[in-house]
């Protein structure tokens, strides 16, 4: 079966776009083929800095023939109908049609139209130009003389040549005949920009890959990554060092070279005074180089690995020397930042925060810090932290934003603050909180353990949430520019993972610019939503969460979670399931009767009347009073399992009541009291949750 080889060679494609572009190319071409009925055996796409390539194996040489039968008019039909049939079926006379006999309608004409399958080559020539012209690059451009006209070809960078061949393994493949904006598909490409720039001809995928390798181009990004990783490890090992592995950097670097050559450079020991994270950040971000550790140690080594795109005639000496000079200059800058920063105490930086706007409507960073400090002090006793330390940590938490180092490497925020705090003799928990108050940053990040860190982390997140709620900047749909969902999830995880009791409503109230109660309720509803998402991810039932949140005053997330857990456990027992069924039955009857009578049955039942009725009625009345009392007491004591146990004792009396007692008794007083008993059941269950929200 024939194969397709497609190569789109251009000027340097941004590293971050290459992998996605290769996948898009594969999908667009294979989808277009499948849509036209062309199936294939396998497809693989590749990218280097200067080319996208696609190999589709096992395509048919032509599409399948199509046979179509078209029914015509009756034999002997008027001439006009016969002519219309001949025209639509593409026949010149009735000799080309056959006749068929239908038992009901008699004899009529039938045309059999046979269309041969289309040549795959032609179909490819039809598909490819459109895919190239509307390729989904994240950013694309026009270029050259052609760009004087509107509608000229757009590509990520100028497209230089197209190779497109199609044919079976045993024969010379054919060129797919098409051109796009003056670039005609052919068989000629070229290799590495510096090592093998001469053009050469390719026929099909196998010889294409080999010819590229001879021309110093490794087509497969994963192979380039493997080569870099292995060479880097070997080079490090030979010097008694360990590579600090970095998948993101590896992926990027593999997209910057067609022929990776790993080289080792070094820098002066004196730069190791700079915090390791800052060394790594500058060498990674600015130079796209890997850092190294002393073997078996956490200490950085004064060396780095660079990945060049050239097999240099001097073995890479000049390239290494050049990179070392740049790294040295960068580290000199970092060292200067580090030393300059150390000369100023963190608290002396605070006035600068007053000049930086946090958000147009939420004031300066300085104002924000004051709010967070006050809130951290208030939260501290609730989480077992020293209020003075929490306030101190909060006051210093954002000071590193105006240091030189964080100005240069924003990703070091927090970490640098911690270093500077430790250097100026702050207590360890204050220094740690400066770094950790940003945590948890993502779902895989850990929640801090130190109470001071927790107090500041909660204060920071709650202040952010309350602030953006005040100005109605809430997340909508997929838009959450201020990462408010993440902030809420951070609060939820801290509360649950560290078992914290936090009265959110009272903490939040008074922190809104206006309409405090309404906004508090709205923000609590947001927390409930986020908690639902969180618990659902942990496998909890969302209806149980709804059932608990439906009760008033549910602003203590930890208690909500415990109650949901106890409720889940209860409902998985026989007692729980039966009680739920009994509740539903009671609620249904009440709903119908209340509607019929146009009144609510919400008073306390008459115990004496119940006692004089059926025995089941009396037993239920007593059980309800006891269970409600016991459940309420248990809830107050936060013993949710105990509350569930209390409810479980209702199962037998409820079952017996429904079995033996007729609710709609003829005696109106009896009927009313029985309805009130059902309402008492509803009320008793409400001590633990709103059972009406529970499914099943």
């Amino acid at each position: 079966m024939p194969d397709l080889l497609l190569e789109l060679r251009s000027e340097e494609i941004p590293a971050r776009m290459q992998r996605r572009a290769a996948e898009d190319l594969k999908k667009l071409v294979t989808d277009a083929l499948v849509e036209r009925g062309f199936l294939y055996e396998g497809a693989k796409a590749f990218a280097t800095p200067r080319r996208l390539a696609l190999h589709i194996a096992g395509l048919p040489a032509r599409g399948e023939a199509v046979r179509e039968e078209r029914r015509g008019p009756r034999v002997g039909a008027p001439e006009a109908a016969v002519q219309g049939f001949l025209k639509s079926a593409g026949l010149s006379s009735l000799d080309q049609a056959t006749t068929v006999t239908d038992p009901k309608k008699g004899e009529f004409y039938l045309a059999v139209i046979e269309r041969p399958g289309r040549e795959t080559l032609d179909v490819l020539a039809e598909i490819l130009p459109g895919i190239i012209k509307s390729f989904p690059w994240p950013k694309s451009m026009r270029w050259g003389a052609a760009s004087a006209q509107p509608g000229s070809l757009r590509w990520v960078r100028p497209l230089q040549s197209i190779v497109a061949t199609f044919g079976p393994e045993t024969e010379t493949p054919e060129v797919v005949p098409f051109s796009v904006d003056g670039i005609t598909a052919g068989t000629v490409t070229s290799g590495h920009r510096f090592l093998a720039p001469e053009p050469f001809e390719v026929r099909r995928f196998d010889d294409y890959v080999q010819a590229l390798e001879r021309a110093d181009v490794i087509l497969d990004a994963d192979r380039r990554k493997d080569i870099i990783l292995h060479d880097a490890r070997d080079l490090a090992f030979a010097r008694g060092l360990d590579l600090v592995e970095d998948e993101g950097l590896l992926e990027e670097v593999a997209g910057l070279v067609e022929r990776p050559v790993v080289l080792m450079g070094s820098f002066e020991e004196r730069f190791l005074e700079i915090p390791a994270e800052a060394i790594r950040a500058t060498i990674r971000a600015n130079q796209k180089c890997f850092v190294l550790r002393q073997s078996g140690s956490e200490e950085l080594a004064p060396a780095f690995l660079l990945v060049s795109n050239l097999v240099a005639s001097d073995g890479g000496a000049a390239i290494t020397a050049g990179n070392e000079r740049v790294v040295r200059a960068r580290l000199s800058d970092a060292k200067f930042f580090w030393e300059t920063d150390k000369a100023t105490k963190l608290e002396d930086r605070l006035p600068k925060l007053d000049t930086i706007v946090f958000h147009e409507k939420l004031g300066t960073q300085g104002e924000r810090v004051a709010r967070i400090a006050a809130l951290a002090k208030e939260i501290a006793p609730l989480v077992g932290a020293n209020p003075a330390l929490a306030e101190r940590a909060a006051r210093l938490a954002k000071a590193d934003l105006v240091t030189e180092m964080v100005g240069e490497f924003p990703e070091l925020q927090g970490l640098m603050g911690r270093k500077y705090a430790a250097l100026q003799g702050e207590p360890e928990s204050v220094a740690a909180a400066i770094e950790e108050h940003y945590k948890p940053v993502g779902p895989s990040d850990r929640v801090p353990t130190d109470p001071v860190s927790i107090a500041v982390a909660l204060a920071d997140k709650l202040d952010t949430l309350a602030g953006f709620w005040s100005i109605d900047e809430k997340p909508t749909g997929s838009k959450d520019p201020f990462a408010l969902r993440r902030a809420a999830l951070g609060v939820i995880r801290a509360v649950i993972e560290r078992s914290l009791r936090l009265p959110l409503a009272s903490l939040l109230k008074g922190r809104f610019a206006g309409g405090g109660d309404e906004r508090t309720a709205d923000l609590l509803a947001f927390f409930a939503d986020r908690l639902k998402v969180y618990l659902r991810d942990q496998g909890a039932r969302h209806d149980l969460i709804d059932a608990v949140f439906a009760l008033p005053g549910q602003d203590d997330l930890l208690l909500v979670v415990r109650r949901v857990e106890a409720l889940g456990a209860f409902l998985s027992t026989d007692d729980g399931r039966n009680l739920l069924a009994g509740y539903k039955r009671a609620a249904n009857i009440l709903r119908i009767e209340e509607k019929k009578d146009g009144r609510a049955y919400d008073e306390t039942p008459d115990a004496a009347l119940a006692a004089s009725g059926d025995p089941e009625e009396r037993v239920l009345a007593e059980a309800l009073a006891a269970a409600r009392h016991e459940a309420s007491a248990a809830v107050t004591a936060e013993d949710f399992a105990g509350a569930m146990r209390a409810l479980s004792r209702l199962r037998a009396p409820v079952d017996a009541f429904f079995e033996k007692v007729t609710v709609n008794a003829d005696d109106p007083a009896l009927r009313k009291n029985r309805l009130l008993l059902l309402n008492a059941l509803r009320a008793a269950t409400r001590e633990v949750a709103d059972f009406s929200r529970i499914e099943g």
Partner: protein, 316 residues
Amino acid sequence: MPSDADLSPTRSFQGLILTLQRFWAAKGCVILQPYDMEVGAGTFHPATTLRALGPKPWKAAYVQPSRRPKDGRYGENPNRLQHYYQFQVILKPNPPNLQELYLASLEAIGVDLKLHDIRFVEDDWESPTLGAWGLGWECWCDGMEVSQFTYFQQVAGFECAPVAGELTYGLERLAMYVQGVENVYDLNFNGGEGDEKVTYGDVFLQAEQEYSRHNFEAADTAMLFRHFADAEKACRLYLEAGAPESEGARHRIVQPAYDQCIKASHVFNLLDARGVISVTERQSYILRVRELAKACGAAWLKTEAGGHSSDQAAAA
């Protein structure tokens, strides 16, 4: 007296400039002199900003002193300057082999492409003040950024048709590289040795100290605010005065108006360096300059050099 060898690009700063000028002159560029106004980058030169607009082909190369008031370091930083030189090349439309031409220019100034690792690393260029953007790369030589390479897509808010290719060489960095010098002030400026040698520091160190003091401490901000307002007003006034007299006629006063846009931009940079523009105001100043640039670009497209055909003008 200096010999030809002293003017080799690897031995003197001026040799580097002369070599690039000769190289691009041989490729058909007009070799212009720096624009006689303070600008933040070679792109501001009307030979780039205005000439990038409209259909007419254009090839030019020139050195442009560039002022970045905020980058002043009182002469104490080995590679940051508030005044430095850019070598600017603009080719419209970009020739298909612009990357090869660029690499050949590196060879011309002494970079051996068999020894050095040249890389084109993604860098999307945008100038909010000029309402311009383009796609291209930072060009790295052994890990050091030595040039910017941009295909202009839009200038002054107008689509470039055709697209121009712009190359910007950071001359001091490049010279430090080819001379093997770690501190910009140690660059050999004239190629002389011994008593004959003039360094970059001899020429510019005192100026860096004085201008840093001026930019950060002394610049008269009340005057600068006035100058900004005056330049903005003058720009609009000149555009108004030169506006086409009838439908389809040419605009007659674009370049003097654009000078005022350049002036406003530099005054804004000075005010910014003095720290008297708040974060929120900053954006609005940038927008005001952009509005001027857009108005000048629109007017330029109504001039002859901007491609406004004489038929249209005659018909009017």
